[in-house]
Structures are given as structure tokens and as C-alpha cells.
Amino acid sequence: MTLALPPAVLPESAEALRGDVRAFLAEQDFVPGVDTWLSSFDAGFSRRLAERGWLGMTWPARYGGHECSALERFVVIEELLAAGAPVAAHWVADRQSGPSILRFGTEEQRQRLVPPIARGESYFAIGMSEPDSGSDLASVRTKATPDGDGWRLDGAKVWTSGAHHCHYMITLCRTGPDRHAGLSQFIVDLTAPGVQIRPIELLTGEHHFNEVVLDGVYVPGDMVLGTIGDGWKQVTSELANERSGPERFLSTAQLLVELARYAETARDTRTLATLGGLFAQLWSIRQLSLRVAGALDRGASVEVDAALVKDLGTRFEQEVVEAVRVAVTADPGSRLEGLLTHAVLHGPGFTLRGGTTEILGVIVARGLGL
């Protein structure tokens, strides 16, 4: 239940790992950015992380995982995000697709699909939203019809980040009329005949989002994820993973770092107070997020708490942009100016993706018994 999570203390093993990640990052060649888990696709970087054992960290060794705790994983991913590293390629697969297959998939699916994720070679897209089903996810209409030993999928998914780079899309489909019990998940091979991936450009013109049209796509019976009719339950559990992590408050961390660099010389009251206020927010929200990670580690249900942290965290990400904008006068062509512009243009997405602020409010209110 909300607010009842005990404090989490990072184990020493996790802190030791932090040093390893920092040393690794210092040797890598990348331009630190904001919102890199959406927009910085770098398959080579993902593979190098995998070589270090930093993908599939919490998964069993027999599926290519490394049997670490959720808190150790928390430390690794927060270091990557804070550094603005290019983590988009593997992000969804490592965060939610792999865990979903491990939890709901067949033994054959686990053995075949999970190890390549842990090697940083297989990427997944999220097939949830549709043109007419956004916040009201349970209204999805993409249809799966039995066809011989398998299923035939017809419909369209939208906002599928990175689908044009991905190998699979875990797709929520309607298999029956009941609003919730009529939903099921399928693992769709994005190279299958009938799959068409069209870009939906962001307002910047960047291509991360896609529309994925499924036109009579055949999905073999062994690519059903979990149980037919359990799609809603499975998706809810997946969303807790999707919402609870540090990417929900660190998307603009590099902008804050740049503000601190700016403050090194511009020691005026406004800049310092802005920096202090934002740091207080970041430090405090991270403490709350750590509690959720600790609860995940114990296998507790964190749906409500994850929604709460995501709401606070994503509004904070936007606050960083706004506060920095007000506080500084960035030099033309400076790194600060570049990051700020990029962050302003990406800002609206923070409180939309993975469940809008409004939907999170409903989940939290329900958790509070309202």
C-alpha cells in the first residue's frame, strides 16, 4: 500500500558496483544527453553493457541473467541515466519485456528469447497504445483470431518507441468481448509478413515513435505470452516495472549537472537557489524511488507506489527544464543551451509516456481507498 514502504538501504555490493559503472562510463565515447533512454539508440553501447553483465541483471543465470538484486540493478541504471548514456536500444527489453517473459512465458520462450536480451542483441517494443486507446488501455481493438495452431493479428499500435530498431513487440490484443478478460498478449516478430512500421515524428522531427500496422500477421501458438485472457493482469504487472525506475526522474539529470557547472562561475542568488531547490527535489524523490526498488526486491506489489513515484518524478523532470530556463542565460552554442533546447522540446512527453499524470492520479487515489 501507498506510503507504507520501509526505507531502503543500498547494500555494499551495490555501492561497489557503482564504482565499476563509473569507471566503465569514463572509458566510453558518447555525448551525454537528456532523455537518452528514449532517444539515444546505440546497439554497440548496449552490447558493451551486456559484456559487463549489466543487462538482465536480476534474471536467473540459466537465461543469461546475473542473479543480482533489484537494488544492484537500480544502482547500475541510475548511473547510466545520470551520465546521459545512450541506453535506448535495450531499455524496454531489459526493463519490462525480459521480466514479463520470465514471469509469464513458457520455458521454451524463456530459453529462446531471454538470453539474447541479456547479450544486448535483441530489442523489444511495447505494443499497448492504439489510435483510439490511449489512457483507456483496456479498450484496445487490435484483434487476435485463432488460425490453425496460431493466431492472426489485425490492428494498429502507436507510440511504439524504437519499433524500427526492434526485433519483437509484445502486443496487447483483444481475444474476447470482455473488457479485461478478453485481452491477451502476443510476442510479435517484427519481421513477419504483414507488419508495417511507419514513423511518427516527434515535434522536433526526430524519429523514435512509430505506428505499427498489423495486417493479418500470423503469430504461431507458441508465441502467446502467458495465458489467453490474462492480458490485462500481465500488462498491469508490466506497467509497475515500466513506471517504477529511475528513468522517471533522471531524464533531465544532465541538464541539472550543466546548471551546476554554470553555477560554478555564476554565483548569483537566483542560480544558487534554483540549483539547491532542484537538488533537494532530486535527492528526495530518489529516496522514495529507492524504497520502491527495495520493495520490488522483496517481491512486493508496487503498482500504487510506482504510480506515485512516476507522477512526482516526471513532474520534477519538467520542473528542471522550466527552472533552468528561468535561471540561466545560456551562451549561444553552449552545451547548456543545447541540452536546454532539447529538454524543452522533449518535455511534454515526460508526463505522458507510461501512463499520464491523470491516470496515475486515479491509480494513487484508488490505492488511498478513494
Binding site: 537557489a273 534554483t274 539547491g276 528526495s284 522514495l288 507522477d311 486515479v362 481507498g369
Partner: protein, 354 residues
């Protein structure tokens, strides 16, 4: 939480539910409740965190903070925070002997001390001394010919006053008060910084406690109050408000806990502590947001003297500005971060005390 601490929380909550009722809180408005203090004292709760060999009840900072947070959650009209969280630590840091009983701390005062046979004689006064009238001893900063010192004073004339929360905030006049030598110790500016950090920590813990209750009251009211034929919690806009309130309360609570742990692990040595400043700033922000939401959801009834809510919102409004303004704290934290530089910003987040 350890089993002992859970037990402490349960027994304290029981005691406060019985002895710190809304009527007790309302009756003590502008003053305090010596009866409640006696109950807490008999249960050993007024010396939690003080070592047994010094006459205390044992336990550590985490236990003391838990007691202070619970008392704040009941708006308990007793000087528990200075007595548990500030005075014992300050005495030890300054090299003064432990002293039992309710304590007050006057960190900024216009008081001087002059040598006298076998001790010191004080002159001057301290204003806005929280819980001054209830204290058996006041730790007061004094100017001596040799520099700043801390005097542990058991005497002084009190001119009562109250703050906006309705808690004692008295003027204590020390003219002619004699203090023996062993109750006066020189202090450094580093100790004063450490004192500010300690007071900020205590304030943060108190804010977190009062916030817990504001959420509880607001959630309940939204579920009970019926308008347009249904509870107001059925309205999306109200749901959203209460959900935001829950977030504000949760983040302040997590920050307060983490700051307490940080200080318990690495006691203040006179440097400003990013963790404490961050938690203090964030808790003040939560107080502002939470009081606004709580009053909006409660409507006009919450704005009256008879409703319980005001005992918590008045405390939050007062405590958020205790000792230092929010802007000044933000700036102090920002200056610290700017001095460390951008390259160390993230390492400060992950290891805020180092």
C-alpha cells in the same frame, strides 16, 4: 524497521491516542500540556536516544526521530523535539554534562556572560525561545570576553508568547542569572553550523509527522463529505488533489527518514550537510503544497478554529520557516553544490554526506 522500533511506535501511538486527543491539543493552544509530558516521561519517552549511563532511556537517533515524528503527527503540545533531537546532542558536542528534563535551545540570543566568583553571570535575553516556559534548562549562546560560549542555564524569567502554530515561543530574560563554570563551554563556528544542521533535521522530522496526519485527515474527509449526492472523492479533480497530496507527504517522509539515517551514520562535524539541507527544503515545499490541498479539499470547515486540521496546518506553516527561510536554505545548498562543481553533482546525490 527493527522490531524494537516497531514496538516503540506502537506503544507511543497508543499513548498519544489516549492522552493527546484533539481536545487536549485544542486546550493547549498557545501553551503546553504538562500532564501529557508526565505521561511521556513516565513511559521513558522523554529521554529516548540518550544513553542509559547518562540517565536516558537508550536507543539512537533513529528512535528519537521516530518519537518526535509521532508526537508531531498528534500535534502533541510538548517540547519533545528540542529535548530529544537537539539538546542531548548539543550538550555532548559542546562538552557539557547531560541533564534530564524538558529542554529549550536559544541558538541566537543577545546574551553576554561575565566572569564571577566560581562561574559566570549572564545579562540579556533571548526571544522566540521555543518551549522556553516548559524547559527545566535552556541552552543559550552567550558572548564572553573570550569569545562565544554555550551556557546550560536552569534559571531565567520567562515572558510568555506563542508562535503562529500556538506553541510557546517565549522571551527568556537572563539578567543576573548565575551559571557554574562546568555549565559553560566555548563553542566554535563549526559547532554553530552543526547546530543549524541539527535544528534543520529536527524541523524536517516534525514536518514529516504533521504531513502524515494532514494526508490522513484529508483522505478521510474526501471520502465522507457528500455533495451532489456522492462523496467528493468521486470527483476526478478531488482525486487528483488527494493523490498529489499523497505524493508530497510520501516524498517528505522518505527524505526525512533518509536524512536521519545519514546523520546517524555520519554525525555532523560542522560542515553543512547536503542530505539535511535537501530534506529540509523538500519537506518545507511539501508543507506548502500539502496545506494548500488539504484546506481546499476540506472547504470552509477546515478553515475554522473548531476543526482539527488547523492544528496541523498551522504547525506546518510555522515549522517550514523555523530557523532559516526556505530561499536561504536553497541558496546555501546551491552554494555548496556550486563549490563542489558540476562534475560532483551526481556523486553528491548518491553519497550526500561525503
Amino acid at each position: 524497521m527493527s522490531a524494537e522500533r516497531e514496538l516503540l511506535e506502537t506503544s507511543l501511538t497508543e499513548l498519544l491516542t489516549d492522552r493527546c486527543t484533539p481536545e487536549v491539543v485544542a486546550a493547549a493552544d498557545g501553551s503546553w500540556d504538562p500532564g501529557l509530558w508526565s505521561h511521556l516521561d513516565r513511559a521513558g519517552l522523554t529521554a529516548v536516544g540518550v544513553p542509559e549511563e547518562a540517565g536516558g532511556s537508550g536507543g539512537g537517533l533513529l528512535d528519537a526521530a521516530l518519537v518526535a515524528r509521532c508526537c508531531a503527527a498528534f500535534a502533541a503540545p510538548v517540547p519533545i523535539a528540542p529535548t530529544l533531537l537537539v539538546a542531548p546532542w548539543l550538550r555532548e558536542a559542546a562538552g557539557l554534562a547531560h541533564r534530564p528534563g524538558p529542554a529549550a535551545v536559544a541558538g541566537t540570543a543577545a546574551v553576554t556572560a561575565a566572569r564571577d566568583a566560581g562561574g559566570w553571570v549572564l545579562a540579556g535575553y533571548a526571544r522566540r525561545v521555543a518551549w522556553g516556559r516548559c524547559a527545566e534548562s535552556v541552552l543559550v549562546l552567550v558572548g564572553t570576553p573570550e569569545g562565544l560560549a554555550l551556557a546550560d542555564v536552569a534559571d531565567g524569567a520567562v515572558e510568555p508568547a506563542a508562535d503562529a502554530a500556538g506553541e510557546p515561543s517565549d522571551t527568556v530574560v537572563f539578567d543576573g542569572v548565575r551559571v557554574p563554570d562546568e555549565r559553560v563551554r566555548p563553542v566554535t563556528t563549526r559547532l554553530l553550523t552543526a547546530l543549524r544542521m541539527r535544528q534543520a533535521l529536527a524541523t524536517t522530522v516534525m514536518l514529516a509527522g504533521a504531513l502524515d496526519t494532514v494526508l490522513d485527515l484529508t483522505r478521510r474527509y474526501a471520502g465522507e463529505r457528500v455533495q451532489f449526492g456522492r462523496p467528493i472523492s468521486a470527483f476526478q479533480l478531488v482525486k487528483r488533489q488527494v493523490a498529489q497530496l499523497a505524493g508530497e507527504v510520501a516524498v517528505a517522509g522518505a527524505a526525512a527518514d533518509a536524512a536521519v539515517r545519514e546523520v546517524a551514520a555520519a554525525p555532523a562535524d560542522g560542515d553543512p550537510l547536503p542530505a539535511v539541507l535537501a530534506a529540509r527544503v523538500r519537506a518545507a515545499r511539501s508543507a506548502t503544497a500539502a496545506t494548500a490541498i488539504a484546506h481546499q479539499v476540506h472547504g470552509a470547515i477546515g478553515f475554522t478554529r473548531e476543526h482539527r486540521l488547523q492544528h496541523f496546518t498551522r504547525r506546518l506553516w510555522t515549522w517550514r520557516d523555523a530557523h532559516d527561510g526556505e530561499g536561504a536554505l536553497q541558496e546555501e545548498l546551491g552554494r555548496l553544490l556550486a563549490e563542489r562543481g558540476g562534475d560532483r553533482l551526481w556523486t553528491t546525490v548518491t553519497r550526500a554526506g561525503v
